[in-house]
Symmetry: C2
Subunit: 253 residues, 2 copies
DNA sequence: CAGTGGTCTAGACCACACC
DNA sequence: GTGTGGTCTAGACCACTGT
């Protein structure tokens, strides 16, 4: 009788709306996710098995199963055959709430301010042309931005986009992140690769951040791809290491 | 008739073995993955729809579907309702072959060499105790390693593990990565969080890498969690920025 | 042994994209 | 329209874990 801890009965207030366009599995998954996040399903508790859940919610087992898989993919729950399903610890959950492809700074909750230093269409320099897969001199949108938090400049961002594709306005760029704007413009982001390194600031770079020459900088180059494998954006950024670091979380396998 | 490009017929030599303990969906998924990776399914080609695939392989549609979802999750394929399934471009695919939670250096194919500088059980210093969730002074395994590639030292790795859990041998550590050893020891890794930053090397640190004081260092702190939310490992590392950078890829959403 | 999650089937209907 | 992927059902059997 593996009821070491009493099962979590379904009646945690889950309701499903069969008239909604939202898929059933997603309705269930989201409500369970919320229940975990606000503590109604406590860390370490065993959940009822999927058959029982399915029966009580009057959905089929595959549908219930899909909801569970969603939680597993999000790292909120661990399943073991023959054992059951448990909610992960609060600490792990907190650590997983960090983002990755999202705008770096927005997540850190420091109300960042972005000023556009420059926004123009230029001929692609050779390194940019190579990355974007276009010819040297082809028109690209070049965006230079300075990000600050608590009026301390933290990051200098340089981005290149193929000019024919989409060119944001200054105002839009000050209001939201580049990725959000791309999504609004109907670009289907697929994936990105990035390289993070470090180097020493030049005098001019250090001055940007109110530091001295020789200060450590974090650097990041990122290339973002489209659904169709086309490069959407190339970014070359540097950050004041004394005020900024990259935080990320990883799920196993 | 949306057959802009002739569908990829099933007969790319896929075979399934119903006697195998390997799940059907996985057999199919792996063979398709292989076909994409070695070019038999070329980038941009449309694949036959899942009904056709299922019929030709004599599996049910949900099973075929699950194989497709595996490819989507790996970023190898893009699906659009009403349109079809296409293989992503070769460039995107290559960019996605980079790892994340795996051993950093192993993937870069530089045949790294690891020397164990020190391996002992010590009382937990306060920061370590806090991260591992144990009391200050409790026994922890402390591992100091130096990683080199092409006989150039690149990284200084410091790890702490709860001593009661698992203590690797020197020999094992020189042969394989810490994470591989943990897995062999039956530890179910769940997730990890890491922080990447930069700073300036002290004289002693610089000497390790054959550099001068003031050289830029990349730093990384990582905390890895168990299935059950217990901290398995805490690492505090620094890297010679002139010879090392972190490369990673991200899948959208 | 009983209980759990993991796999698989053979259907069905729906939502969306394109012509 | 037609064709595609997205959702959903109601069963079945298997594999693993624990007692």
């Amino acid at each position: 009788m593996p009821r070491d801890v009493p099962l979590t009965p379904l009646e945690h207030g889950l309701v499903i709306d069969r008239g909604s366009p939202v898929p059933l599995y997603f309705q269930v998954a989201q409500q369970l996710e919320q229940a975990i996040k606000d503590g109604r399903l406590r860390p370490g508790t065993r959940m009822a098995n999927e058959i029982e859940f399915a029966a009580q919610l009057a959905v089929s087992r595959p549908t219930m199963r899909r909801a569970m898989e969603y939680l597993v993919d999000k790292g909120l729950v661990v399943r073991q055959r023959g054992v059951g399903t448990r909610v992960v610890s609060a600490e792990v959950r907190r650590s997983l709430e960090l983002t990755s492809l999202h705008d770096d700074l927005a997540a850190s909750g420091q109300q960042p301010h972005t000023s556009v230093l420059s926004l123009e269409i230029v001929g692609a320099p050779d390194t940019v042309a190579e990355v974007l897969g276009i010819a040297v001199g082809d028109p690209v949108t070049e965006i230079l931005r300075l990000r600050s938090a608590r009026s301390q400049p933290l990051a200098h961002l340089t981005n290149y986009l193929p000019a024919d594709r989409f060119t944001p306005t200054r105002e839009a760029l000050e209001g939201s992140g580049l990725y959000a704007l791309l999504r609004l413009a109907g670009v289907h982001l697929h994936s990105a690769t990035q390289v993070i390194g470090a180097r020493i600031a030049t005098t001019a770079e250090a001055r940007l951040f109110g530091e001295r020459r020789g200060a450590p900088l974090l650097t990041m180059q990122r290339t973002a791809y489209d659904d169709r494998g086309i490069v959407v954006e190339y970014g070359n950024h540097f950050y004041a290491a004394s005020h900024y670091s990259f935080q990320m979380s990883l799920l196993s396998t």
